[in-house]
Assembly symmetry: C2
Amino acid sequence: MDAQTTHDPTQGVFRALADPTRRAILQQLAQGPRGVNALAQGFEMTRPAVAKHLKILEEGRLITVEQRGRERLNHLQPEMLAVAQRWLGFFEAFWDDKLADLKREVERDDD
Amino acid sequence: MDAQTTHDPTQGVFRALADPTRRAILQQLAQGPRGVNALAQGFEMTRPAVAKHLKILEEGRLITVEQRGRERLNHLQPEMLAVAQRWLGFFEAFWDDKLADLKREVERDDD
DNA sequence: TATAAATGAAACCGAAAGGTTTCGTATTAT
DNA sequence: ATAATACGAAACCTTTCGGTTTCATTTATA
């Protein structure tokens, strides 16, 4: 399928979060906007590799890019991270209390 | 690298969450344990395909498997979802208030 | 103006992902 | 005992992923 064109915003976010380098980039950007060169120095890979990760982060709308002359500042855009957190929030009931275990037992009897 | 052997539990979770089918499986399992056949009926793919997804969910420790005779009941195990949510919680400060915007402005002046 | 810097873009590569079909094997039901 | 059920496992295929090297382009500076 076409992951980029899919109009489910959740997909773009979780796709972007799947890679450890991209998660590390997000944490870097939490400390302020960075260009691709500055970011690449923190990772053991070439600049184009980091640039590709940034593109995927941009597609998932986890960052925005601010063009400043010949520089391209990548800014963290945290709203979509909140979307991901809310998606996970659906499962909160299953770790907040012990209802989950009880539920499992009850449904086992029903089957 | 070796995603399975990596002893960073975060990686296994986010890897598992990257696929929409696997996220849907988790939501299905939130309503109770299911065997692979029951799950496969809900998706437009074959049973072995769903079985592979379940294996990845198990590797990420998002589900546990209970063998009951010839059946294999897949149970949601929500603890690692909480791990993912907490990882995202690090960024809460950036959407909770407007400090993020202020921070960006300040650091732009510093550069 | 020449040069250095910051980056995009393209071509390419091996490995991983996501799917299929086919076959084998326990376990349950008739 | 036989047949149906619920699986796992293997082989195979195509696409995506994550990385590289090379080259072109735009912007800043000596």
